[in-house]
């Protein structure tokens, strides 16, 4: 398929962002919005075409392409070149990213009142950075896009957030920079020590390898931990996750949707690409630790979620809690668990961005996001309530909705895991199961308090969803239901990749 070029996929949002920023482009919000939405729609369709023509039996990267400038590859003399390619996992994340952007743009109309040009171009720049991270075949190109994504994010949070957003964005971006430096440090060492083993100066992710008897174990563990810190900061895993609810509660509603759709993708992808593929031995060594970490993550973030009075914080802690399932699935070192982990990342992005869509509808009408003061608005907003019910059920993991299969896979994988610490593994599976029940508790508490309790006086005149909002939420619900009924449509795409990775892990 020659018209499917990853470079166009990554660069076209940049070009559109530049067009939007041109002084000649009419500074008229309707035109800007329409242009952005049309582009995002076409971009999503273009990304879908990649999925349609994707050869699921292929092992390794497809759609490979190199970005050259007048025939020269970037930094060839240092073994670094701007090569792009996707495998099944990356492709799913790519499609998901474009989808989330489309949803965000549909929801932006009512929330973004100022600086339209800047807003829409920043969204596209962020999209390009995320897509670049997912498609990069070269470690340093990956890192460039990884860092670039922070800058639009900073402006998106600080410019359209509430009064505290600026400080929160600052904290977030510098915490991320520090974590990125750990990542960069790990990459630099990996870059050189790969050279020392194989005598080829390269930063190509596929050929990088540090797993050797050549270096002492502590050193490999050290590099592994550097990578782990960098990715755990982004995902966010427990103890590195404080930025996430902080940012979510302070930024505006469309940015919430974007963030909840994005953060998992790149972090989990990086974890799989580097920590598993490059350091399989160390990953196996670390698997029990990671399993405990995942459990702690589920319980700790879930417990924090229960006590939050604010909706946005509650939902973002809930999402952080779900990240624990990803960790748990990856750590159990078998096909079932791995498939479940990747599926969890995808499903939770869909589900939690839908939850944030619901919250954005409520926030726009009530200007209030505290659970206790949002009583019973389901009586005046029935459409919103029923659509929110589907989303909340999906978040809990009700069968035939999207979250059921991944959680089932992760817990089954944990049960079947061949780790040496069998007792711990069984306990982990049981605790994970109980955690699902707890999550059902807080999500339903949220739903009951917001939609079903006694209707407060000040909310009696709220309007129900507009047709556009209804359409967006219905589309999301359809996706949730479709993926719930037909989970193999997702799993088939990355099954060959997961078999390769488990081959590398030799389990």
């Amino acid at each position: 398929m020659s018209f499917l070029s990853l470079i166009w996929l990554i660069l076209s949002p940049v070009i559109v962002a530049l067009i939007l920023m041109l002084p000649n482009f009419p500074n008229h919000q309707v035109k800007i919005r329409r242009f952005a939405k049309w582009f995002a729609g076409l971009h999503f369709v273009y990304a879908l075409l990649f999925l349609v023509f994707f050869d699921t039996s292929m092992f390794g990267m497809s759609y490979e392409k190199e970005l050259t400038l007048f025939g020269m590859s970037w930094l060839k003399s240092l073994g670094i070149s701007a090569k792009f390619g996707v495998d099944g996992i990356a492709l799913l994340f790519v499609v998901l990213t474009t989808f989330v952007v489309l949803i965000t743009l549909f929801m932006s109309k009512i929330h973004i009142r100022t600086k339209h040009k800047l807003y829409y171009s920043l969204v596209f720049l962020l999209e390009a950075a995320i897509l670049g991270t997912l498609c990069a075949k070269d470690m340093f190109v990956f890192f460039v896009f990884w860092e670039l994504s922070l800058i639009p994010l900073y402006f998106l949070i600080s410019q359209w957030g509430n009064s505290e957003a600026r400080r929160a964005a600052m904290r977030f971006i510098f915490a991320s920079f520090v974590a990125n430096m750990f990542l960069f440090f790990g990459m630099l060492i990996l870059y050189y020590y790969n050279f020392a083993i194989s005598n080829v100066l390269t930063a190509n992710i596929e050929t990088l390898n540090m797993d050797s008897t050549f270096y002492p174990l502590w050193f490999q563990v050290f590099v592994f931990v550097n990578f782990l810190i960098g990715f755990a900061m982004r995902v966010p895993f427990a103890f590195f996750h404080n930025w996430y609810p902080d940012i979510q509660s302070k930024s505006s509603a469309p940015v919430n949707i974007l963030l909840s759709g994005f953060v998992f993708n790149t972090g989990v992808y990086g974890l799989i690409r580097f920590n598993i593929q490059v350091f399989p031995e160390i990953f196996k060594l670390f698997a029990p630790v990671l399993m405990i970490w995942g459990l702690v993550n589920i319980v700790y973030a879930g417990a924090q979620s229960i006590i939050q009075p604010e909706v946005k914080k509650m939902v973002s802690y809930a999402q952080t809690s779900t990240a624990g399932f990803v960790m748990l699935g990856l750590a159990c070192l078998n096909t079932v668990g791995f498939n479940g982990a990747v599926f969890t990342a995808i499903a939770s992005s869909v589900v939690y961005s839908s939850l944030f869509v619901v919250i954005s509808c409520i926030e726009f009408r009530t200007k209030n996001t505290y659970i206790t003061s949002l009583g019973g608005i389901g009586q005046v907003m029935p459409k919103c309530m029923y659509l929110a019910l589907i989303v909340c059920f999906a978040a809990i993991g009700v069968p035939f909705l999207v979250m059921f299969t991944p959680k089932l896979l992760v817990l089954t994988g944990t049960m079947l895991s061949n780790l040496d610490q069998q007792l711990m593994v069984k306990i982990a599976a049981v605790i994970g199961l109980c955690a699902i029940a707890v999550s059902a508790g807080y999500i339903m508490y949220f739903f009951y308090k917001v939609f079903c309790s006694v209707l407060l006086e000040q909310w009696k005149k709220l309007k129900d969803l507009s047709p556009q909002e209804t359409a967006v939420l219905s589309a999301l619900s359809l996706v949730i239901i479709y993926l719930g009924i037909n989970p193999m449509s997702i799993i088939n795409v990355y099954q060959s990749v997961s078999s390769i990775i488990l081959d590398i892990l030799q389990v």
Partner: protein, 484 residues
């Protein structure tokens, strides 16, 4: 006579041209009135342009010598000379507003300016300690003289520290040179290198004496590059000095000193393991202290002073591991540093000249008045910070990967440097943030066309351009490093 001309054309043609233009400037000052002060600028510019052009006629393969082997010309020195001359070209254009205020001293200014560039070029080309000392001292003298072009009540007092410390370190340099002469009775670099390469010699000589003399030698470079423990002069001097002179001090001596420091490390290569560690510690301490101090600065010039200190620290960290790879990384970093640094100074000078903006708080809301200035300034600051779509990232990647591949010993240093580079990013970020902050007050900006504006645009374009076409430059730097 023909032999003389031959020697000029093979070895020191650019220096010769600069000397000629220094003399022209002196003579012109005798015959022209203050009214024609602009003439001095054009003379200086012409000299620089001709000198840049003349570097292409130099003999670089095989290397050429002049003055009985005291002056060397090869691809390595030519690389540095071109960089110094490019810097000089931009700095002359940046001095425009300052000399307009001091018309009566314009000829004097450009004479000293060109002389400084001349001696910077001689420093790089030196092949023995005598020539090196003369060139370094003359470079320092021209800096002291340029610092007298200041205004403001306390500027003389602030810049005095530079003069005093400079005098102290140059006497330390002399002490170091004389000790080395005492050890091996040589002043020529190659012969000293041969002498110390002999293993027997190293065992028979008192090691402590050599270490002591090397530390004495290093002090002068630490001073000129603004590295700990000789960095205390930097912020005060920058605060007192005029803007173009700050830009001068932060680029020309840095280029010259790194050019010669690499060569000196090469001489003592067989001895340098201790020195490597010492230098690495100095570099890391500089980076940490410099960036921690930078985040508390309110004055743009003081911030840029710490920025210079941190950047030289990073380059020293790259230099001290000393391999061909790291040296080419340092060359690449210098190339990028020149453009980013000149661009940042161009922006600062532009803001000062057009609206008298000196402090970070003054910059508030600039984005809403002059978006293109702000955009270009942001790009060069990102390049200095070493972030992605600019050459700063490639340079940092190159240098740090060179450090990473030089052994376990340097990994802790690398770690600290990376973490504290985030602090420095914050320092640059404060400038950017205050420019984007919305305020009600209006900034009165002089709308005249100013040459520094074009330099700013050019430099910000160049930093991005180099990033995308870095491959050619990397190859060039590797070639140059290989030939050294």
């Amino acid at each position: 006579m023909s032999e003389f001309i031959n020697m000029i054309s093979t070895a020191y043609l650019p220096e010769f041209i600069i000397i000629v233009f220094v003399l022209i400037n002196i003579f012109a000052s005798l015959f022209f009135d203050t009214k024609f002060y602009k003439l001095s600028k054009w003379i200086a510019l012409l000299g620089i342009v001709l000198a840049i052009g003349s570097t292409f006629y130099l003999q670089i393969e095989p290397e050429a010598y002049a003055f009985d082997g005291m002056f060397l010309s090869n691809i390595y020195t030519v690389f540095f000379k071109i960089l110094i001359l490019i810097c000089g070209f931009f700095l002359i254009l940046l001095s425009r507003n300052m000399i307009r205020e001091k018309r009566d001293r314009a000829f004097e200014y450009f004479t000293v300016f060109l002389a400084g560039i001349l001696f910077a070029m001689c420093t790089v080309s030196a092949t023995d300690f005598v020539g090196l000392f003369v060139a370094l001292e003359a470079l320092g003298l021209s800096c002291y003289m340029l610092l007298s072009f200041t205004k403001g009540p306390d500027s003389k007092q602030l810049t005095f520290g530079y003069l005093v410390q400079g005098a102290v370190v140059s006497s330390m340099f002399l002490l170091g040179v004389s000790l080395i002469y005492g050890l091996c009775a040589q002043v020529n670099f190659d012969e000293i290198s041969l002498y110390f390469a002999n293993a027997n010699v190293m065992q028979s000589q008192p090691q402590i004496l050599l270490t002591f003399s090397l530390i004495m030698l290093a002090c002068t470079f630490l001073f000129k590059l603004g590295l700990v423990p000789f960095s205390s002069w930097l912020p005060d001097t920058f605060k007192g000095a005029s803007y173009p002179i700050c830009a001068y001090i932060s680029s020309i001596p840095v280029l010259a000193c790194f050019g010669i420091l690499a060569k000196l490390l090469m001489i003592f290569y067989h001895y340098t393991f201790t020195m490597k560690i010492v230098f690495a510690i100095i570099a890391v301490v500089t980076i940490v202290l410099g960036s921690l101090s930078a985040i508390r600065q309110e004055n743009l010039k003081r911030l840029m002073a710490y920025s210079m200190s941190v950047q030289s620290g990073i380059m020293l960290l790259g230099l001290c591991v000393f391999s061909v790879y790291s040296l080419s990384g340092v060359l690449f970093y210098l190339f990028c540093y020149v453009f980013a640094n000149i661009g940042a100074w161009a922006a600062i000078i532009l803001l000062y000249n057009s609206a008298k903006l000196e402090y970070l708080d003054d910059l508030k809301g600039l984005w809403y008045h002059r978006p293109y200035y702000v955009l270009a300034f942001t790009v060069v600051l990102i390049a200095l910070a070493g972030l992605a779509p600019t050459c700063g990232f490639v340079a940092k990647l190159y240098i740090f990967s060179a450090v990473a591949r030089s052994g376990f010993v340097f990994l802790p240093f690398l770690m600290i440097a990376l973490i504290s580079s985030v602090i420095m990013i914050y320092a640059y970020w404060r400038i950017i943030r205050s420019m984007f902050r919305r305020v009600e007050t209006d900034i009165a900006i002089d709308n005249k066309v100013i040459s520094s504006k074009y330099i700013l645009y050019f430099c910000s374009f160049a930093t991005v351009f180099i990033c995308f076409f870095a491959d050619k430059l990397v190859r060039l730097c590797q070639l140059v490093a290989y030939y050294m």
